[in-house]
C-alpha cells in the first residue's frame, strides 16, 4: 500500500496515540510494544516511525495524553471540593492519588519512560505537563494567600515531589509503604504540615 485516504495525517496520529495509550493502560510500560500498538491501529511499525520520527516521541505523545486526562481529573475533583483551604488541598492530593490508582499503568508509564536529555520535547507535550503543575500552582498560591510568585512555584514543585513519592512507592508496591493503609492520607498530612510554615493571615 501507499498513502491511504482512510485517515488524514492528524487522524492517523490520533489513532496511533489512542491505540498506544490503550495498550499501555492494559499492559504497562515493561510489556508495551510499538509493533502491537501499530497492529491494533491497522498499520505496521514503520508508520509509527514515519509519523513520530522515533519510539521516544511516540511514547512522549502517549504520556502527554495521560497528563491531559490527569489534569482534567483534578479540575473535575476540585469542582466538588470543600471551600476551606485545607479541605481543598486535601481534595487535590486525593484526586492526584485517585487518578494514579485508577490508571496505574498509564500513570506509571509517565515515570517509567526515561527521556534522554539530548532529545527535545515538542511544544504541545511540554504544555501538557505544565497544565498539571499549573493547577497546583494556582491552588497552593490561593491557599497561601500569595500571588503566583517564584517562591511559591519552587515550593509547589517540592510539594509535588512529596506527593509523588508517596504515590510512586505505593503503586510500585515498594517495601517502604507496603503496610501503609492510607498513603494518600499520609501525603495529605505531610503537605498540610509543610504548609503551616508558609501560611500568612488572609488580608
Amino acid at each position: 500500500m501507499g498513502r491511504r485516504s482512510d485517515h488524514t495525517s492528524e487522524e492517523l496520529r490520533e489513532l496511533l496515540v489512542s491505540c498506544g495509550h490503550d495498550l499501555m493502560a492494559e499492559r504497562g510500560f515493561a510489556k508495551f510494544s510499538a509493533r502491537e500498538a501499530s497492529r491494533r491501529a491497522g498499520y505496521t511499525v514503520g508508520t509509527i516511525y514515519n509519523v513520530f520520527g522515533g519510539l521516544d516521541s511516540y511514547l512522549i505523545a502517549i504520556n502527554s495524553r495521560t497528563f491531559r486526562r490527569w489534569s482534567d481529573w483534578l479540575e473535575a475533583a476540585l469542582v466538588n471540593a470543600p471551600t476551606d483551604q485545607a479541605g481543598r488541598i486535601e481534595a487535590l492530593v486525593r484526586a492526584y492519588f485517585g487518578f494514579a490508582e485508577a490508571h496505574r499503568n498509564a500513570w506509571m508509564a509517565i515515570y517509567d519512560h526515561r527521556i534522554d536529555r539530548s532529545i527535545t520535547i515538542d511544544k504541545d507535550d511540554v504544555a501538557a505537563r505544565e497544565l498539571l503543575t499549573g493547577i497546583v500552582d494556582r491552588e497552593v498560591a490561593s491557599a497561601l494567600n500569595f500571588g503566583d510568585d517564584v517562591e511559591v512555584r519552587r515550593l509547589v514543585r517540592s510539594l509535588i515531589a512529596t506527593v509523588h513519592g508517596h504515590c510512586a512507592l505505593w503503586l510500585s508496591g515498594s517495601f517502604a509503604l507496603l503496610q501503609e493503609e492510607d498513603p494518600a492520607g499520609q501525603a495529605v498530612d505531610r503537605v498540610l504540615e509543610i504548609l503551616t510554615h508558609y501560611i500568612t493571615p488572609s488580608a
Copy 2:
C-alpha cells in the same frame, strides 16, 4: 560443559550478581541484559536460570546489593555528621541523595524493577531492604526523643516517601524538578518542617 570446578555454587552466585550489578550500573535498567551479564561472567544465560530460578530473582539479588551499599553509605556519612538533631537529619537526607546521584542507574533500577506481588522475596533480600528503613527509624526516633514505636515507624515511611519523591523526580529529569538547583536541600527543608510537628522536648 557441565559442573565446573572453577567456582563453587556460592562463588558463582556472587560472580553473577557482581557482573550483573556492574552492567546495571553502566547501562541502566532499560538496557540491562541478562544474556550480556552472564556472558561477562563467562557463562551462558541458562546458568542464571539455574542459579536464580528466573530473571526476577536475579534482578532482586542485584538490587539487594545496591540496598546494602546504600545502607553502608548512609552509616558512613552519619559517622561524620553534626551532633545536633537537625544537622544529623540533614546529613542523612543528603547522604540519601548522594548515593542515588553517585549510583544513578543502580539506584533507579531498584524502582524500575516492578515485582509481581505473587512472587515471594527471599529472606536475605527482605533483610537488605529493611536495613535501610532501620537506619532511618533509628535516626528519626532519636531526633524526636521517641522510642522506636509504631507511630514513629509510620511517620518514617512517609518521610522516606517524601525524600524519595524529590530524589526520583530529580534523577529521572522529570518536568517537576527541572529547574531546581538543590533538590536535596528542598527535601531537607520539607523533612524538617514536618518534624517540627512531632518534636517533643528532650527529657
